[in-house]
């Protein structure tokens, strides 16, 4: 496939849960593209289908119809493309940031970032070097050997961001990354994501229900009852 100018391409994406009379359409005919370095928000109330959209793009939830192309790789075309290694794609091309930081409680901040690198076959030594650099760049140099339980909410979310960035993914998907933070920390995290989108040239797709947090985003999609409204 020729190099596309988009990091994410979604065409007529539809996700239907159940069959027959009990079928529920969670996402209907979604089409959009996100360029590398672009920061995009998906806004919508609870149950509107925004997380379903994120999981379909994140190679977790198989779309019922439509196409998904991630960093030039066709991953879904009326269902997953046959023979595709979803885990490898998630490892190499995607980074995830969660509502709760989802750090592994028995690993230190440094090890939480290292694990993402080691899963991607990086040597332990190299993983340690890169993870340390990354955490220092996010002002967490003094927290390298702390467990998540000893970190503040904002610090833990920054470690989670470091983990998501560790493999230099083309696409970062964030599911309500500020939901567990106070307003100030939430804004800090969003500012960091804006900065990283530019610096790393990654496409960042953020799902949130909090309109206050998406100021300065390049584009904002609103999802209502499974349909992208704007």
């Amino acid at each position: 496939m020729a190099n596309s100018m988009y990091a994410i391409e979604v065409e007529h994406l539809t996700k239907i849960y159940g069959k027959g009379e009990t079928a529920v359409t969670a996402i209907a005919d979604a089409t959009f593209q996100v360029k590398p370095g672009e920061l995009v928000a998906i806004l919508g109330p609870s149950g509107s289908g925004k997380t379903t959209l994120l999981t379909a793009i994140g190679l977790i939830n198989e779309p019922t119809h439509g196409k998904v192309i991630i960093a030039d790789a066709m991953v879904a075309d009326e269902g997953w493309v046959s023979g595709i290694d979803l885990k490898r794609l998630r490892r190499e091309k995607l980074g995830f940031i969660f509502q709760a930081h989802n750090l592994i409680p028995f690993l230190t901040a440094l090890e939480n970032v290292m694990i993402a690198l080691e899963i991607n076959q990086l040597s332990s030594r190299e993983a340690k070097r890169r993870a340390t650099e990354l955490l220092i760049s996010l002002n967490l140099g003094h927290r390298l050997n702390n467990y998540p339980s000893a970190l503040s909410g904002g610090e833990a979310q920054r470690v989670a961001i470091a983990r998501a960035l560790a493999n230099r993914p083309k696409v970062i998907l964030a599911d309500e990354p500020t939901a567990a933070l106070d307003t100030e920390n939430g804004k800090n995290v969003m500012d960091l994501l804006k900065k990283l989108a530019v610096e790393n040239h990654s496409a960042i797709l953020v799902v949130t229900h909090d309109r206050r947090m998406v100021e300065g985003f390049d584009r904002i999609f609103e999802v209502l009852d499974g349909r992208i409204a704007s």
């Binding site: 977790i60 998630r90 028995f106 090890e111």
Partner: protein
């Protein structure tokens, strides 16, 4: 990065406590195995230390350990004269329970010919029996002091020596006295019984019209002598000359009637297959039950530990972790728990096995086999957790 080790390091308190609990259970399994082997060792102790080739016992009986066997002491001369036999020595056995320092003291009394064999195998303190009467050597398990006196039957006996760990097939410590003393203790009647017997014999003889008073008096004395005789033993043990044919000697003694010559091999079978078989089976069953309980406990621990890590597993899957990383984490934790618990159980038994009332024999083969079984149980038990982990969807990492 080893996730299993890191998880254990973080939850070390919980892990150590769980391992200690499991270790105690495995310690019990090990001790059961030790008791199981100890039953064998105990059952064969006297057989082995006697170093006899043939045990001559009462016909149609299974010998002095399995059931009552009484044969005349004098048969030792005939056995000794049999071709192929170099030594023959009479032995007397009985289990005795007395009160000592207001506590019951149960022991196995062995009477042996001071000029024969079958006496104490070793003297750890004091000396062997030198006088024909009223001296005894006791196993150290009886916890008696040199010079201590105890009353057995009609007489007091003085402890003159301490021997090693000699026990009966039921685990009671052994004590040795001279054969004549043992016969007295076992067979001698008290004075009232002797007087009654004499009167009964006299009354029967006086009714016989054909006997003169002098004949009746003579017969009364001799018959009473026979009934009062204690020259009975439970077995006569014999040693064969080098090159002598065991079966030929056995066949010869069989032909005499009234006696049964039992080889060491046969005696071993009687002791192990007959006398302690049920106890062995019982212990074997307990071991199996305890191992099943261990397996269930390990499964539950691994399963609950996996449930605790559902979000971690989902996150690992979401960031692209291979299944073998997750399977490895669960399997390694299960195996580590098994190894540590086994180590704790082993140390526990090493520190305590000598304090058990019955002999514990720890054989390296048994310990290695148990280790292999524990590892197999850990692997099988971890399958429950692994199955659960493999079913976790990466999507479970999303949400609050």
């Amino acid at each position: 990065m080893n996730l299993a080790i890191r998880d254990i390091r973080y939850h070390r308190g919980r892990f150590i406590l769980t391992s200690i609990g499991l270790g105690l259970l495995l310690g019990v399994v090990m001790s059961m195995g030790g008791i199981y082997r100890g039953l064998f060792a105990d059952a064969l102790t006297i057989l082995n230390i006697t170093k006899a080739d043939i045990w001559v016992v009462q016909q149609d009986t299974n010998g002095p350990f399995a059931e009552n066997s009484r044969i005349p002491e004098d048969i030792k001369y005939r056995i000794k004269a049999a071709p192929g036999v170099t030594e023959a020595s009479p032995l007397s056995f009985q289990t005795i329970q007395i009160d000592r320092m207001d506590k019951p003291l149960r022991f196995f009394l062995i009477g042996f010919d001071l000029n024969g064999f079958g006496g104490p195998p070793v003297i750890l303190a004091g000396r062997n029996i030198r006088q024909k009467h009223y001296e005894m050597v006791v196993a150290k398990g009886m916890k008696m002091e040199l010079g201590e006196k105890i009353r057995l039957g009609l007489h007091e006996y003085t402890v003159v020596g301490i021997t090693g760990k000699v026990v009966s097939s039921s685990g009671d410590p052994a004590a040795y006295v001279g054969l004549a003393d043992a016969q007295d203790i076992q067979f001698k009647k008290d004075n009232d019984a002797i007087r009654n017997d004499r009167e009964r014999i006299g009354a029967n003889l006086s009714g016989m019209q054909t006997l003169s008073p002098a004949q009746a008096k003579y017969l009364k004395q001799n018959i009473a002598g026979i009934t009062e005789s204690t020259h009975t033993v439970n077995t006569v043990v014999a040693r064969l000359a080098p090159g002598a044919n065991l079966h030929e000697v056995q066949e010869r003694i069989n032909r005499w009637n009234h006696f049964r010559p039992i080889s060491v091999e046969e005696q071993t079978t009687i002791l192990t297959k007959g006398m302690i078989e049920k106890a062995r089976m019982q212990l074997g069953l307990f071991r199996i039950i305890l191992l099943v309980i261990s397996a269930v406990i390990i499964s539950l621990i691994i399963y609950t530990s996996t449930l605790d890590k559902i979000k971690v597993i989902a996150t690992l899957k979401l960031i692209g972790s291979r299944n073998r990383v997750i399977v490895g984490m669960i399997l390694q934790q299960s195996l580590l728990m098994g190894i540590i618990a086994y180590g704790i159980g082993y140390i526990l038994i090493l520190l305590t096995y000598e304090k058990f009332p019955r002999r514990i024999v720890l054989e390296s083969f048994d310990l290695q086999l148990l280790f292999a079984i524990v590892m197999a149980i850990c692997m099988i038990a971890s399958l429950v957790g692994i199955r659960k982990a493999l079913k976790v969807e990466p999507a479970e990492a999303l949400g609050g």
